[in-house]
Every structure is written in C-alpha cells, then in structure tokens.
Amino acid sequence: MKKRQDALHIRIKRQMKRRIQGLVYFIKRLWAHPKGKIGLSVVTFLVLVALFAPIIAPFDPYDITERAEKGLSPRLQHPLGTTINTGQDIFSMLVYGTRVSLVVGITSGLSIAMVGAILGVTSGYIGGFVDNLIMRAVDVLLVIPSLPLVIVLTNVLGRDYWIIILIFVFLGWGGLARTIRSLVLVIKNSNYVRAAELAGASRWRIMIKHILPGTSHLLIMSTALSTAGIMVAEAGLSFLGLGDPTAISWGRMLAQAQEGGALLFGAWWWIIAPGIGIFLAVFSFMRIGIVLEEILNPKMQASAGIFKIFKSLDSSYVEKVFDSMDEEDRQKTGAVAPQPSAHSWEDV
C-alpha cells in the first residue's frame, strides 16, 4: 500500500514538474521576443497592481469617509485629480479597477478555453449526433449580437460578477470550439491516435491523453486573446451601467464621468485615466496573444485578422493558423485532411 502511494506521489510530482517546465519554457520564449517582453511586463505590472491595490492606492475609493474636495484637477496629493460629483480620488479608483478587469478577463478567458476545449474535442472526436448538436449551437451563438444578449441575460439572471463571467463564457466558447474541432479532425487520423485505438485505449483516455495536448497551443493563444476581448466587453457593459453595481471598474468610471459632467466641466483626467487602464490591459494581453501566435506558428506572420476575433468573439483568425498547420500536416503524412473553407457554415 505504502509503495503504491509512493509511486503515485512520484508520478504526480514528475507530472507537476513537467507542467511547470513547460510553463517556464513558454515564458522564456515570450520574454525573448521584443514585443512579448512588453506584453509580459505590462501584464505582470497589472497583476501586481491588482494584488497590492490597497498598498498602492493612497485612498480607499470604497470608503465614503475618504473623500476629498470635489472636482480637483491633478496635483501632488491626487495624481489624477478627484471626481466632480463624489470627490473620490481617481488614481485610487484606477488602481482598484484593475482588480475587476483582470479577474473578470482572466477567469472568463481560462473558462472559455476550458469549455471550448472540452466541447471542441468531444465534437471532433466523437462526431455524429453530438458533433452536429454542438456545431449547430455554435452557429446560433455566433449570429446573436453579443452585447444585447449579455444585457438581456444580466437583466434576467442578475448582475453579480460571477454571473457576468458565466454569461461571457456561455457566449464566448463557440468560435474556439469550432476551431479546435477542425484541428481534432486532423489529429484523429494521425498514426498515434490510431495506434492508441488499436491498443484498446478508451475514448476518454484518447481524448484527454492524446488529442487534447495536440490542441494546447491554440488554447494558450486563445486564452490570451479572449481575455483581452472580455476585458473590453466588460468595460462596455459597466459603461452602460449594467455591470456589478457595487464594484469600481474602469467601465463604470467612464460612465460616472459621462454622467457626472466630466465632458461639460472639462475634467479630461477623469476620462483619460480609465481609458488608459483599459488600453494597457487589453493591449498587453493582445500583444502576448499575437507573439504566441508567431512563436507557435512561425508560418503565420504578424497579426492576421486579429480584429475579427474581437468584434464577434469569432476566432476566424485561429482558423487561418489551423489552415496552415493543416497544410503542413497533409504534406507530411500525405493523408487527405478535410479542407477547411472560408465558409462559416460550410458543413451544412
């Protein structure tokens, strides 16, 4: 019994070590890239700001007793001035807003990758009715305009942050699942998967052990990009006053600025500050995503169609990555892989 446990322990340890080594390798590659260096340092900086917000911020924006004179312009004590209607310190609000943006963005990004991977792999490997069902669901999700749907769902379900994250995940997995599926269709025909099937491995084992690792580069990349996308979406939602009403977020700061008459009274600092926050966060995550794309697939030069992923959370650009990999694969194995076309609903 003891021996068995030890063996298990060693195995888990070894696996953990391998995982960590993989992560370190990734970060090293990212760091070696000049653009990746910028992205990585900004993200690290933002994470530190979010973690140590109470230490960095000179005031607590949630505390109604810590209010200064209203509508101060930037000065030594208030580096970004104060708000016109409540007299909160804008710099402190900016610092605390990092938390909301990062938590919502990263949690949703990771969850989207997870859901997208599970459904994409299931759809591609099992095929048949399950595949059909999942892909039709993707088609439906991609035609409903996302912002109005998010608004309706928050109206029905509530506006807590965890609900908003759930909604983002529910709406965001479609494009990724479709891309993963097409990749799985290629991997499915590779020799090692055939060998595993012949050896009598169960479906689940094949999906988790043999197919999932083959899609990991897409997952890592899309996590960075969808995190960026979600952060903009969250800012937009909060800007409309439909985010969590109790939290201070950058989008809500902009909304308050508009309502509080920042435009009218010329309080430019009140508008610029949250804008810079959103910009830095989204920009750095996108940089990381683009650099990962270049590192993982040197055939893809620069940021092809990154824009599209953003607009409709549609990962058509990843499809292009996949196209080029598919090409490579066909050349290597000589196998006839399904030709992914530019059509969105090609397999009707």
Binding site: R136, D139, V140, L142, V143, I144, P145, S146, L147, P148, L149, I151, V152, L153, N155, V156, A228, V232, A235, G236, F239, L240, L242, L254, Q258, A262, L263, L264, G266, W268, I271, G275, I278, F279, V282, F283, M286, R287, I290, A302, S303, A304, G305, I306, F307, K308, F310, K311, S312, D314, S316, P338, Q339, S341, A342, H343, S344, W345, E346, V348
Partner: protein, 332 residues
C-alpha cells in the same frame, strides 16, 4: 449544383432563425415559474393577495393563461405574422411600430459606417500591402492592435469631449429636435449630417482599421499566387496587376468577413447611440432594459439576429457567385 446549395443554405438560415426565436421565447422564462412574475415583479408594498390579482391580470393581458407549449406556439405564430406584442410603455404601443420608428435612424449610422469602413479599409489595406514590411505597413499593424485595445465608446467620449465641447465643431449630443424637424431638404440633411458626424467617426476608426487589416492580408496572400507572377512576367503594367488581378481576387475574404462584422456593428452600436443619445434602436433597447420591457427587448434581439443571419446568408451566396473556383456541390 449551385442551385441545390443555395436552397440548402436558405433552409439552414431559416432553421437558425427558428432556433433563435425559440431562445427568445425562453429567455424571459429563465428562473421563474410564471412569466407574469418576470413581466411584473412584486413591488415592496404589495400584499400577496393584491399581487395575485395583478399576476392574473398580467397573465390575461399577455396570454400567459394557457400552457407553456401553447404560449410557445402562439408566440411563433405571432412572430411569423410580424406581431411582437405590445410594449410596457404608457399606452401600450405595438412593439413593431416602436422599432419601425427607430430603425431608419440606426441604419443611417451603421450603413454610413460600413461604407466608410469598406472604402477607407480597402484603400488603406491595398496601400499597406504594396508597402509590405515598410513603415507604412507596420503602422497599420500597430494601429490595428491599438484600435482594438481602444474601445469605440472611449474614442466616442474623447471625440465628444474635444470636438464637441472644447472646439464645438460638431454637436456633442444629438439635437433632441432632430427627429421632429427632419425633412428631406438640404437643411434637414445638413442637420442630420452634423449630428451624425461624431457617432459615425467614432465607429469608423475601428471599422476602417479592421477592413484594412483583412484587405492587407488578403492582398498579400494573393500576391504570392502563380497567376500574379505570370502577369508580372508578361510585363503587364503595375497598375493593372494591382487592381485587375490582385484586388479582385482578394475581395473574397473581405466579403466573407462582412457578414459577421455587420452583426458586430449593430450590436456594438448600442453603446455609441447611448453616448450621443441617438434616436436609434440601441437607445430603445437600453430604455426597454431599464423598464424590464421584455416584449420590446426580445423583439429587438430577434431583429438584430435576423439581420446577422441575413447578412451571413447573403455574403455566403455572393461568395459562391463571385468565386467560380468554389464548386459547392462536390465538396467532400
């Protein structure tokens, strides 16, 4: 062969529309046993008996007094006839009329943005592709990451701050009399253009850069094709190669990206309309959201989804017509 594909494509679009309609029916019913509770949530100062009466009235008014499957069938029938029910606003106006009132205003903004984005994007994209790797090209790449990181509503706020309030070039908010005073005269159109300028400019930035990026990539992909090399080897003038051979073939990816971008454009416009208080569907949707006006909200959602489905359908069919190489009947 193409005919069969077209019919299949249209039928599939109808199917997707049907699924979206079904979702639309069930979304207000999530989390409540009785949709009347959603339509008329309990107020603080109401006794149970009073609330029961109100619920009963609501049920009768909105046809909730029959079983759910029956309600669903009724809903489908109404939608098929273009009847989306009545709004919660005072006087209970028909939803269809409310939307029809706002639709032209919304389409004015989106259509102009789309046209500006396409013209500007294609010109800029071709330009960047011809200067591939030089500073003009890298500028486009950098701008596209910057523009995606800057949400349109932030650009709109900045524009309304500087162009609207500081320098007073354009009105920072839509003139409330615009809708009432509008007429198809020179003055009316001028007034419309002045008021629509800022919303359109703030949305166009992202649109132009997005299409420019797509165009640039498509043009570069086509440039490496054999027929371009042949054309060059034949000694055709640069101009003719660029516009006749390259651009024409690279239009295809742009057409495909168009379908999805139209949906994104209409959805994203909600925020812009709110900032400038534009008399469009976006503001109507937000007003409906504030009043928990579900019939109105769901009708707008359905309409926007239908637009997207139609746009994707049309672009897909145009794609097939444009590209003689796509032989749809024989795939796989």
């Amino acid at each position: 062969m193409k005919k069969g594909y077209v019919i299949k494509r249209i039928l599939y679009s109808v199917f997707i529309l049907f699924v979206v309609t079904t979702l639309n029916f069930f979304i207000p019913r999530i989390g409540v046993d009785d949709p009347a509770e959603r339509y008329y949530p309990p107020q603080g100062n109401m006794s149970d008996a009073e609330y029961e009466v109100i619920k009963q009235l609501t049920r009768e008014e909105y046809g909730f007094d029959v079983s759910t499957p029956e309600q669903y069938l009724n809903y489908l029938g109404d939608v098929a006839q273009g009847d989306f029910g009545t709004s919660f606003r005072s006087g209970n106006p028909a939803v269809t009329g409310l939307i029809a009132d706002r639709l032209p205003w919304t389409l004015t903004l989106s259509a102009t943005t789309l046209v500006l984005g396409l013209i500007g994007g294609i010109l800029f994209g071709v330009f960047a592709a011809t200067k591939r790797g030089r500073w003009q090209d890298t500028t486009l790449l950098n701008m596209s990451t910057i523009m995606t990181a800057l949400p349109a509503f932030f650009i709109a706020l900045i524009l309304s701050f500087y162009l609207g309030f500081e320098f007073e070039i354009f009105p920072a908010y839509t003139n409330p009399n615009l809708v009432g005073d509008f007429s198809f005269s020179l003055d009316g159109l001028q007034m419309l253009a002045r008021n629509a300028a800022l919303p359109i400019i703030s949305m166009s930035f992202g649109s132009i850069i997005g299409y420019a990026q797509t165009t640039r990539n498509a043009v570069i992909a086509v440039t490496n094709e054999d027929y371009i090399v042949t054309a060059r080897a034949k000694g055709l003038p640069q101009r003719s190669i660029r516009y006749k051979h390259t651009l024409r073939n690279s239009l295809l990816p742009i057409v495909t990206s168009l379908g999805f971008s139209i949906g994104g454009l209409l959805g994203g416009q909600v925020v812009i309309e709110q900032i400038f208080n534009w008399h469009g569907m976006g503001t109507l949707f937000l007003e409906a959201n504030e009043m928990n006006d579900y019939p109105l909200m769901m009708a707008i959602m359905l309409l926007l989804s239908a637009f997207t489905i139609l746009a994707i359908l049309v672009t897909d069919l145009v794609y097939v017509l444009l590209d003689p190489r796509v032989t749809v009947g024989e795939k796989r």
